[in-house]
Symmetry: D2
Subunit: 367 residues, 4 copies
C-alpha cells in the first residue's frame, strides 16, 4: 500500500472540489482503514458546496456514507454484536460517530440524533483531522465507529444506492408506526422518498402513493414499491389532493411522509392526512424557508400527529443492512445510484446532483 | 312542575339573546329531564354569538356543559357502569351525544371526537329540536346521553368551574404523555389552560409554567398548580423564551400545551419545546388565521412531536368527575366561574366573557 | 327462493350435528339475507362440540365466519364507509355483532372485544333466534352487522381460508408492534399461526420462524411466508430454543407470537424472547390448564412485555379484506381451507378438524 | 484526610461482615472521592449475604445506593447537564456504572438495564477493585459515573430513604403508563412498593391500593399516598380480591404493580387487573420459584399487558432527585429509613433487614 491516497477535497463553499494526495494515518488500537468501494454524492453534499450547513470545518473530504473493504486493522475489531471483523471483509460503517451515549439526549430523552457530541463523516470533520470522508481512496475508521459486514447478497451498489436516504427511511418508518393496510403518501422522489416508499410497502402499507418527479424517478418509485405515483410537474395542488382523496374514500391518508424538503410540500402534506392521521417530517434537512399553516384546520380539528424525524441511529444503520439483504431480490436500490463517477469527475457529479439529473451520483475513488 | 320552562335563546349571531317560554317534552323511554343547577358561558358561546362556527342551526339554546338534579325519568336510567340513576340525583351529563360507536372514526381510527354523527348540546341542536342547551331551567336528556352522578365533594360550582375546559384538559393530558418530572409549559390562562396546568401538576410534572393573562388569572393559575407564571402583557416573546430556557437548563420544555387559540401562540410554543419534546395543540377551536412556522428549525431538526387534540370523549368526562372529587380540597375549580348570572343577565354575561373580564361566567336559570 | 333453508344444527355437545329445514325470517328495516357461499369448521367449532365454551345457548347453527352473496335486503344497506350494498354483491360480514360502542370497554378502555354486549354469529345465538350461523344456506344479517364487499381478487376460498384466524392475526400484528427487521417466532401452525406468519412477513419482519406441525402445514407455512420452520414432533424443547438462539445471534427473538393454545407452548415461548422483547398470547381461546413460569427469569429480569390478544375488532375485519386483496397473488390463504364439505358431511368435517387432519374444513351449504 | 478509610467488607456469603481499613485510591483525571453521608442496607444486601446473586466477586463492600459530600476531585467534574461539580457539594451518584451506551441493548433495543457491560456499586465490584461500596467512609467515583447535586430540600435521609427502591419506582411508573384517574394496586410494602405507591399517587392515579405488611408499614404507606391498604397477614387471597373488586366497580384495577418478590403475589396480581389492564412485574429481583398461571384466563381472555421492569436508568436517577425535591414537603421518604447504624453495627442492620423489622436500615460510616 502506498503511504498516500488520493482524496477529493472541498476547500470552501462554491470553489471547485480539488484532488489532493493525503497521508495515511498511524492507526491507534481499535482503528482501521477502509479501502473505499463506493461513496456517494447526495443532496447534503450539494448543500455543503453551497455552504448551507453551519459549522462545517472546511476544507473537508465529503462523502458521508461509504462502503468498501477492510484494510489494515490495529488490534481486535468487532461488530456491534461482538463478531470479529477482519482485513478483507466487505463492510459498511455508520457515518455518525462520537454519539456519546451518556448525555441527556442519549440516555434520558432517547434522541441520540440530537446528541451534542455527535459527528458525521464527510461533514463535521476537517481534512486536517484525517481521512474522514468517502471521496477518498481510503477512509479512516476511528476506534468506536460502528462497522457491519455486508451480507453476500448486498452489493456495494445496492448499499450506496440506499445510502443515507435508506437509513433515514428506516427511521421514518419507525416514526410512522404504519398499521397494516394503511394508505401512505410519500412526498418526494429523492433517495429518502424512494426508500421510504419501498419500506412503507414492506411494512404493510395497504397502498403507497408517491408524489414527485421527474418522470424517470416516478418509474423507479413504482419499481421500488409505490402503488400510485403523482407527477409534480403536470399537476396542481388541487389535482393532487383530489387524487389522494379519491384513493382513500375521501378520508385522506393514514400516514403522510414528507421527504421533499420544500416549504410548500409541508403545507400541502397537511391536507393529505386524514383526521387522526400522522405526518412525518423528514425532508427538511436544511432551512428552505417558512410555511404558512393553519393550526385550527390542519392540526387541532384534525387531531393530527406531526412527527419530526432527524437523522438516523445505530439501529437504523444495522436494520438498513438487514433490509437490503432481505429485499435484495425485489427492491432495485442499486438503480438509485444512476451513474458512477471517478474522483476526477467529482465536480461533474456535484453538478449533476444539483441539477437533479440523477437521483444519486456514486463515487468510485479507484476508477 | 309547570309545563313550560324559561330558556335563553340565541336566535341568530349578533342579535341579543332573548328569553322564551318553551314547552316541556314528552319523554321517550330512556329519556329524562334535568333541572338545571348551573350552566356556563364559555368561549364557545362567544364564538357562537359571533357566528364563527359553521353549521349551527340557529335559533339555539346555548350552554353546552351543565349540571343539575335529575327530574322526571321515563323507564330505567343508568350510568355507564350500570348503576341506576334516580330522580333527585345530583348529576352531570356528557354534552357530546350521538357519537355513533360504529363508524371508522369510532371503531377503527379510535378518534370518536371526529365521528360525523357527533352532536353537542347547546351547539348543534336547534331550539326546534327541544331543550338541548343549558341556558334553560330544564334540559332534555335524550336516551343514550351519558349521565354520571356527582360525588358529594363535587359542588355544582366546581363542576361548572371546570366545565368543558376541564374535559378538554383531561384529553390534553392523555395526549401529552407527561413523564414524571417533566417541565410543562401551558400557553393560555382560560378555562382550558387553567385546568391543563392543574392536571399537569397532578400528573407528575416536575414544574408547570403558565403563560397568559390577565393578572388575576395568573394568581388563580398559581393556586391551580402552576409553579411559575409569565404575564403575556408585560413581556416580549424574547423574554418569555428566555424565561423558559432559564427554567429548563437551556433545554426547553419537555411538553408544551397550546391552550391559547392564537396563531402567534402556536408559533411561539414551537420555540419553547426541547429537542425530542412534545407540543399539544388544543386551543384552536376556531380558525384564528395562519401561522408561519419553519419545518426545518421547529419540527424536523427538533425531532418534535406535535399532537392535535380535538374535543373530549366519554372517558374524559368520567375521569373529569373523578378528578374533581379527588382534588376537591386542593384545586379551586370553582373559582374559574367567577360570577353567576341569571337568565335575564345573559347578554351581560356574554359581554363579560367576550371582554375576558372573567375566566368564565356561570348561569343559574332559576335565579 | 324457497321459504325454508337447510341448516346444520348442533343440538348439544357431543351429539351428532343434524340437518334441519328452518324458516326464512321476516326482514326488519336494515336487515338482509346472505346466500352462504362458504363457511368454515374451525377450532372453535370443535370446542363448541365438546362443550368447552361456557354460556352457549344450544341448539345453535355453528359457523361463525362466512361469506356469500347478498340476497334480499330491506331498506338501504351500506358498508362502514357509507357505500351502498346491493343484492348480488359478493360480501363478507363481521361475525362479532352487538358490540355496544357505549360501555366502558368500548369507549374508555378501548377493548371492544371485552364488551359485555358482544355476540358472535355461530356461537352465542340460539337457533331459536334465527339463522345466525354459517352452516346454513342463508344467514340472517341483522341491522347493524358490519358488512363489506369482497374485492374481485378475493375469492370465497381465500376469504374463508383466512377466516377467523386471519382476523385474529391482524389483531396480533397490531399488538406485536413489529419493527422492521425484527425476528418473529410464531408458535402454532393452525389457521391463526399461518396467517400470523404471513402477516409478520408483510409487516417487515426480518425473519419469521414458525414452530408447529404436522409436516404438510410446515410446507404451507413456508409458502405463507415463514423463513424457517421447526417441526414440533421431531424436536425437543432444547432443540427448538437452540435453533432460535442460533438464528438470532444468541439474543432471542424480538417478538414471539403464541398461536398454539398449549400450556407448554406458553412456557416455552418465554424462553424464545430476547431481553426487552415482546410476547403476544393469542392462542389460548379456551382453558388448556396452567403453565409454570418463573417471574424472575422470564419476565422481570428479561424486562419482557407480554400482551394478551383477545378476539378481533371491526378494524381487523376490514383490514383483513384489504390484506387479502393486496397479497392475493402471493399468500396462498385458500390452501388453508384444504377440503370443502357439504352440510351432509358436516360431522365428518368436525372429525377431520378435531384430528388435525386438515388446517381448516370449508363448508359449502349448497353443495 | 487520613490515607486509609474504614469499610465494612462482606468476605463471603453467610460470614459475618467485618470492618477493614482500606487505602484511598490515586485519582485518575475525572475521578473523585465521596465522603459518605449515608448508605443503606436494602433487600439486595440481604440477598448478597445469602449468596443468592450470581457472579458476585466476594469480598465486596456492599451498599449500592449512597449519598454524601464531594471530597477530592481530579480535573473538571460536571453533572450530566454540564454544570460543574465541586468539592463540598452535597451529591448523589448513580450506582449503575459502565453501561456502555454502544451495545445493542443500549442503542438499538433501548434497554440499557440489560447492557452486558453494566456494573453496580456495592454488588459487582470486588474490594480489590477499590472503594466501590457505600459501607465505607469514602466511595471512589470513577470517571464516567453519573453524579448529581442534591437540592437543598433533599436531605441525605430522604435520598437514602427513597434509595434504590425509589429509582426502581420511577422506572415502574414509566412502565405503568398510568392514565389520570386510574386505580393502581401496589403489591408489597417494602422500599419499592412504598415509593411506587407514592409516585402512582403523584402521577395521577385516581386511587392507590397497597397490599402488604407489617402493620406499621401500612401506616407509612398511607402517609406516602396510598388511599387504601390491605394487610397481608389478616386477609385471605379471596378477601383481597373482593376488596379490589369492591373498590373498582367489580372491574378490577387499571394497573397492578408487583413489588413483593413473591411467586404467589404474581399469581394473585393477575386476578386484580381488569380486562385490558396492565401488570408491571418489578419485585422479582431474585429467583423465588415458579408461579402457576393460566394463560387463557389471566392473559389471553383478559387482553392483559404484563410488563417486566428491570433495574433503573440514568433518567430514573435524575428524576428521582427531582421528585424528592418536588414532594419533599409531602412524602415522608426519610421515614422508610427507620434506623441508622454505624459500620460497627452492620451485622445487626443486616439481621434487622432480613427479619423485616424495618423497611430499610441506613448506614452512617462516620458515626
Amino acid at each position: 500500500m502506498s503511504q498516500t491516497v488520493l482524496a477529493a477535497v472541498m476547500a470552501a463553499p462554491l470553489v471547485p472540489v480539488e484532488l489532493r494526495e493525503l497521508p495515511l494515518p498511524e492507526l491507534p488500537v481499535g482503528g482501521a482503514l477502509l479501502r473505499t468501494g463506493l461513496s456517494e454524492v447526495c443532496g447534503t453534499d450539494v448543500h455543503l458546496w453551497h455552504g448551507r450547513l453551519s459549522g462545517v470545518p472546511y476544507p473537508i473530504i465529503p462523502g458521508h456514507v461509504s462502503t468498501g473493504t477492510l484494510g489494515a486493522v490495529r488490534g481486535a475489531l468487532a461488530d456491534v454484536e461482538g463478531r470479529p471483523l477482519r482485513e478483507g471483509d466487505r463492510v459498511a460503517f455508520f457515518d455518525v460517530h462520537r454519539t456519546c451515549g451518556r448525555c441527556l439526549a442519549c440516555t434520558v430523552h432517547r434522541t441520540p440524533t440530537r446528541c451534542p457530541h455527535r459527528r458525521v463523516y464527510g461533514i463535521t470533520d476537517s481534512v486536517a483531522d484525517g481521512l474522514f470522508g468517502g471521496w477518498a481512496q481510503q477512509i479512516y475508521l476511528e476506534p468506536g465507529v460502528t462497522i457491519a459486514k455486508l451480507p453476500d447478497a448486498v452489493t456495494f451498489e445496492a448499499y450506496i444506492g440506499g445510502g443515507c436516504g435508506l437509513l433515514t427511511a428506516v427511521h421514518i418508518i419507525d416514526r410512522a408506526r404504519i398499521v397494516m393496510g394503511d394508505t401512505v403518501v410519500v412526498q418526494g422522489a429523492g433517495a429518502v422518498g424512494l426508500s421510504a416508499a419501498a419500506l412503507a410497502r414492506r411494512a404493510g402499507a395497504g397502498q403507497v402513493i408517491l408524489i414527485g418527479g421527474p418522470h424517470d424517478r416516478l418509474a423507479l418509485a413504482r419499481d421500488m414499491g409505490a402503488d400510485h405515483v403523482i407527477p409534480l410537474d403536470t399537476t396542481t395542488p388541487g389535482d393532487r389532493l383530489e387524487r389522494v382523496l379519491a384513493l382513500t374514500g375521501r378520508l385522506g391518508a393514514d400516514v403522510v411522509i414528507e421527504a421533499a424538503g420544500s416549504a410548500l410540500a409541508f403545507e400541502e402534506g397537511l391536507l393529505f392526512a386524514r383526521n387522526g392521521g400522522a405526518y412525518v417530517i423528514a425532508g427538511h434537512y436544511t432551512n428552505v424557508g417558512d410555511s404558512r399553516i393553519n393550526a385550527h384546520e390542519h392540526i387541532n380539528r384534525k387531531h393530527l400527529d406531526i412527527r419530526g424525524c432527524w437523522g438516523s441511529e445505530v439501529g437504523h444503520f444495522l436494520r438498513a443492512i438487514r433490509l437490503l439483504d432481505r429485499y435484495a431480490g425485489e427492491v432495485p436500490w442499486a438503480r438509485i445510484g444512476a451513474r458512477t463517477y471517478a474522483l476526477s469527475q467529482i465536480n461533474e457529479a456535484l453538478a449533476d446532483a444539483e441539477a437533479f439529473r440523477i437521483p444519486k451520483a456514486l463515487v468510485d475513488p479507484w476508477r
